[in-house]
C-alpha cells in the first residue's frame, strides 16, 4: 500500500514537472516560433493564451455540472470535491478569458469591451458561477451545500451551449474559426495542450486538498 502511495506521489510530481515544461515550451513557441501577424502585430499573440483558457473555462463548467450530477446520483463527498475543484479552476480560466479577451479587443476593436453576443454570454457564465460560489459559502450543512451546488451547476451548464453557439446564431464581431497558417495552428495546439495539462494538474491537486480538508474537519475540535 505504501509503495502504491509512493508511486502516486512520484507520478503526480512527474506530471507537474512535465506540464510546467510543456507550458514553458508553449510560451517560447508563442514568442519565438509563431509567425508575426501582419494586421495586428504582436498583440495577436494574446490569442494563443485566450483560446487555451477559454476552452478550459467551458470544460471546467461542464465538469462541474457532470460531477454535480454524479453527486446527486451517487452521493459521495468525493464527487462534490471534484465538482468544487472544477468550478474553481473553470472560474479562474473564465476570468482569464475575459481579461485576455479585453486586452485583445483593445488592440483589435479599439475598445476594452463591447456588447458582442459571445462576450456577453461569457460574462453571464462568469457571473453565474460567481453566484455558485456565493451560495456554497452561505450554506453550513455539507450535505445541503453539496446538493444545492450540484443543482445550481446543472442550471449554469445550460449557458455553456449558448456561449459556444453565440457567434454562430447571432451577428457579432467576435471571430468564428479564423483561418490560420499551419505554424500558427501548431503553436496554438501546443499552447492549448500545455494549458490543459497545467489546469488538469491544478484540478487534481485542489481535489486532493479538499479531500484532506474534509478529513481534518471530521476529526472535530480537540479537547482542551
Amino acid at each position: 500500500m505504501k509503495a502504491v502511495a509512493n508511486y502516486a506521489v512520484r507520478g503526480e510530481a512527474w506530471a507537474t514537472y512535465s506540464s510546467a515544461a510543456l507550458l514553458a515550451a508553449a510560451m517560447l513557441a508563442i514568442f519565438l516560433v509563431a509567425p508575426h501577424e501582419q494586421t495586428m502585430g504582436s498583440p495577436q499573440k494574446i490569442l494563443y493564451v485566450h483560446v487555451s483558457v477559454a476552452w478550459f473555462g467551458l470544460l471546467g463548467y461542464l465538469m462541474t455540472a457532470g460531477f454535480g450530477l454524479m453527486y446527486l446520483l451517487r452521493r459521495g463527498d468525493v464527487w462534490d470535491d471534484w465538482s468544487r475543484a472544477s468550478a474553481e479552476t473553470g472560474w479562474i480560466c473564465s476570468t482569464l478569458t475575459l481579461a485576455t479577451g479585453s486586452l485583445w479587443a483593445h488592440e483589435a476593436w479599439n475598445t476594452w469591451w463591447t456588447w458582442d453576443p459571445r462576450l456577453t454570454t461569457s460574462l453571464i457564465l462568469w457571473a453565474a458561477y460567481a453566484g455558485y460560489f456565493l451560495i456554497r459559502g452561505s450554506i453550513e450543512d455539507p450535505g445541503k451545500r453539496a446538493r444545492t451546488a450540484a443543482v445550481l451547476s446543472l442550471l449554469g451548464a445550460v449557458d455553456v451551449p449558448l456561449v459556444v453557439m453565440a457567434t454562430r446564431w447571432f451577428r457579432g464581431i467576435h471571430p468564428v474559426s479564423p483561418s490560420m497558417e499551419p505554424t500558427m495552428q501548431l503553436v496554438l495546439l501546443l499552447t492549448v495542450t500545455g494549458f490543459t495539462c497545467f489546469f488538469v494538474i491544478l484540478l487534481i491537486r485542489r481535489q486532493t486538498q479538499l479531500g484532506l480538508q474534509r478529513q481534518v474537519d471530521s476529526f472535530g475540535t480537540l479537547p482542551s
Binding site: L72, I124, A127, G131, R147, A150, L155, V158, W169
Partner: protein
C-alpha cells in the same frame, strides 16, 4: 410512473390551493403590481428622451421591470409553505415533487403574464411605446420569456427558501441565470416595436423557446433534490 391524469389533477389542486391562498391574503400579486407601477413611473420620469431613442430602450426596460417584480413572486412561492410546515406535509402526501414544481411554475407564470400585460399597457400609456402594434409577436415573446423566467425563478426560489438564507440572495443568483431570457426578450421586443419581423426576430424567439424547454426539463428532474432535508 405517475399516470398523466393523476399528475394533472394534483397540479390543478395544488394550483387551486395557491390561488385561494393568494386571494385570501392578497400579499404577493398586489405587491408585485405596485412595484411594477412604481418602477415604470421612476424609469419614465428619469428618461426624458426623444421618441426614437425611447423605442430602442423600452424593450429592455420592460423585461428588467418584469424580472424585478417577478422576484417578489418567486421568493414568496415557498416562504409560506416553509414557514408553516406546509411543504413537509405536502411531501408526506402522495404527490410527486414534479407536480409541486409544475403547480408553482404555473402560478408564477400566470402572475408574470398578468404583470407583463399591465406593464405593456403602462409603457404604451406613459412612453407611447408601440408595444401593441404587433400583438401576435408581442404575445409570443411574452409567453416564451415568462415561461423561462417562471421555470428558473421558481426553482431558485425553492433553493433559497430551503436553505433559509437571509438577504436578497434570490436576485443575485437569478439574474445571471435569466440574463439570456432578459436579453432575448428585450431584443425581440425592440425588433417587434421597430416592425422588423425577420430572421433575427425568429432567432431570438428560438433562443427563448430553447431556453424555456431546457430549463423546464432540467428543473423537473432536479426538483426532488431541492426538497430533500
Amino acid at each position: 410512473v405517475i399516470p398523466t391524469a393523476t399528475f394533472a389533477r394534483d397540479v390543478w389542486r395544488l394550483l387551486q390551493k395557491d390561488l385561494r391562498r393568494e386571494f385570501r391574503t392578497r400579499l404577493t400579486w398586489p405587491a408585485a403590481f405596485l412595484m411594477g407601477l412604481l418602477l415604470v413611473l421612476t424609469l419614465e420620469f428619469q428618461t426624458d428622451l426623444p421618441e426614437a431613442t425611447k423605442q430602442q430602450i423600452t424593450g429592455g426596460f420592460l423585461w428588467l421591470v418584469v424580472f424585478i417584480t417577478g422576484t417578489i413572486g418567486f421568493e414568496k412561492s415557498f416562504t409560506d409553505e416553509n414557514d408553516d410546515g406546509c411543504l413537509d406535509a405536502l411531501r408526506m402526501c402522495p404527490v410527486s415533487p414534479a407536480a409541486i414544481y409544475t403547480s408553482k411554475v404555473t402560478l408564477n407564470f400566470l402572475m408574470l403574464v398578468c404583470i407583463t400585460t399591465v406593464l405593456i399597457l403602462l409603457f404604451t400609456l406613459f412612453a407611447e411605446a408601440p408595444l401593441l402594434d404587433r400583438p401576435t409577436e408581442t404575445l409570443s415573446v411574452v409567453l416564451l420569456a415568462n415561461l423561462g423566467l417562471a421555470a428558473i425563478g421558481t426553482l431558485i426560489g425553492a433553493i433559497v427558501n430551503r436553505i433559509r438564507t437571509r438577504g436578497n440572495l434570490i436576485a443575485l443568483l437569478l439574474l445571471p441565470l435569466v440574463l439570456p431570457v432578459l436579453l432575448g426578450a428585450g431584443e425581440a421586443t425592440r425588433l417587434s416595436m421597430a416592425n422588423d419581423i425577420g430572421e433575427e426576430f425568429g432567432r431570438w424567439l428560438q433562443l427563448l423557446a430553447a431556453f424555456a424547454a431546457v430549463v423546464v426539463t432540467t428543473s423537473l428532474l432536479v426538483f426532488d433534490f431541492v426538497l430533500e432535508d
